[in-house]
Symmetry: C2
Subunit: 325 residues, 2 copies
């Protein structure tokens, strides 16, 4: 599938959140394919070092700025061929303590990007969305046409709001939208999530691994390279004015299994796992997620790794990563 | 069904947008049932005279303020038993000219109401939503579990965002939500819409009625009394933490039929109708809407009027209304 990246050669791509975990993997891939990339990032979750390789090629520029500083976006985005909008508060549990965080960093930031695109006549927008838009009232495995969409986290609410804005801007102002509802994404530069937490905890206290919930929460996991690959594939091959895809794998991995994989990979199989109990890890957590990936599969794309393999490779990448904190 | 209003006797109800078309009809009904009502309204679309009767009873207080002035809401909402959130930019076509209007007056205003409820420990929130959340990619007649939800207007996008916020606040902070996706609502105090436009145009130029689109756009219409009745019924009889209902009728009325009814009721049957052409009236307009009202019907509620009867009674009420501009 590497041939596809040739298609971005010479194209100018604007990436919000491009210094973050998924964003920087996307930027590496775009730059490797010959694109010219502008990253717009606050560096609050993202990190400059994640872009070191891309910047060294001379084809990646970092603008350290906030999407809430709306006036800065139009001049920054002008002249690009497409925008990938990945910036967001990516840590779902934070939204509960600071209730306007997702509204500002999610919904309002997305509006600002879209309105800047409208002003500058930029057509293609790719939105990183999430399975959290589905909430808990939909059939599983969940298809893209499932409803009602009643997210249980403020993060999920802001992503559904962002999807709706992409749709309305596409219809009214001639934009074309690609919405990817991500499974849980794992990989080397992750800044949160179960794999990240478990590694941190075991490095701090190698004999014990306290786990939120009863361990039976289970979700599909996607390796970050597959996530980037799927986005680029969908952007190239789906041609409606609005395109909505689950970006996921069949099946799921339980939190207890993740704990087992992390312990095994760290050589700490004897660490004692304790569960805090309860069906979900925290109040905005959807404990059982199954996503139907067949819509994107019908276009010809499948993730290379299963959910379990994604977890294993995610743990290995994190353990190898010198920047892991 | 009038017996149901007894249930609000003595209850303290907060109504945003309560001086507007639907809001003031709700307030009249609540006050008639013995409730104590606080209206929070900017009076930008709403009008003080719509509340004259309610205020004269001594059981309705008007706070003239903006929901974007977030600090004013918590003291205003404190001590109420429920909030009905109807305030919004209700004129869909305006959102296209001023692209942040629906974001501010819809999404952000809804967040401010919900966060004030959280701060003050108020549990019940009833949201006026719209069939516009469905967009154009859903089966018809449309059920509440239809998807994907890809609104084509910024108004629809802001209502979908508001629904998502209600859901997330309900889940995280113990609120209970009732979301009603309205059909097109008609009645005496309407401030926009096809009936309103046609009467205005014919009063200005009695011999000619120019109509946007090809006249074949058709949607279900609900009389405002039925709308208020359905909301109060659903609030009392639906008991999930989150309740989503179409508030609608079977069938639909075409714009050409509306033009005919308005001409007949005004005694201007000879006025020449001209169509601007095209399938939709304006870019954010969903031209064909059919809503399935059976979910609320299963609880025991049906609108008293058909779509056609609602249009006829809406025209008559508007023609009788001394405040019609």
């Amino acid at each position: 599938m590497t041939g596809r990246t040739d298609s971005v050669a010479g194209r100018r791509i604007f990436v919000t959140g491009g210094a973050g975990f998924i964003g920087s993997a996307l930027v590496d891939r775009l730059v490797a394919g010959g694109a010219h990339v502008t990253v717009y990032d606050t560096l609050s979750l993202g990190r400059r070092e994640f872009l070191a390789g891309a910047i060294a090629t001379g084809r990646c520029t970092l603008i350290e700025a906030d999407l809430l500083d709306a006036g800065r976006i139009p001049p920054a985005i002008a002249g690009h061929d497409a925008a990938f909008h990945l910036a967001a508060n990516s840590d779902i549990s934070l939204g509960r303590a600071e209730t306007d965080r997702d509204l500002r960093q999610g919904t309002v930031a997305t509006y600002n990007v879209l309105d800047a695109m409208r002003q500058q006549g930029i057509v293609d927008v790719v939105l990183a969305s999430t399975s959290a838009v589905y909430g808990e009232h939909v059939p599983q495995p969940t298809r893209e046409d499932a409803g009602p969409l009643l997210p249980i986290s403020l993060y999920g609410a802001s992503k559904l709001a962002s999807e709706a804005l992409v749709s309305a801007f596409a219809h009214n102002f001639g934009l074309r939208g690609w919405i990817f509802r991500f499974a849980n994404v794992v990989g080397g530069r992750a800044t949160h999530g179960a794999v990240f937490d478990f590694i941190r905890k075991l490095r701090h206290t190698p004999g014990e691994l306290p786990v939120l919930g009863d361990g039976r929460q289970s979700k599909p996991y996607l390796f970050v390279d597959d996530c980037v690959d799927g986005m680029l594939f969908g952007w190239r091959h789906a041609t409606e004015p609005m395109n909505v895809f689950n970006l996921a794998v069949d099946g799921a991995t339980s939190v207890a299994d993740i704990a087992g994989i992390v312990r095994a990979e760290m050589g700490l199989a004897d660490a004692r796992v304790t569960f805090s109990g309860g069906a979900r890890g925290w109040p905005g957590d959807v404990s059982q997620v199954r996503l139907d990936p067949s819509k994107l599969a019908a276009l010809g794309w499948r993730a290379r790794r299963t959910s379990h393999d994604a977890i294993r490779d995610g743990v290995r990448a994190a353990l190898r990563d010198p920047s892991f904190v």
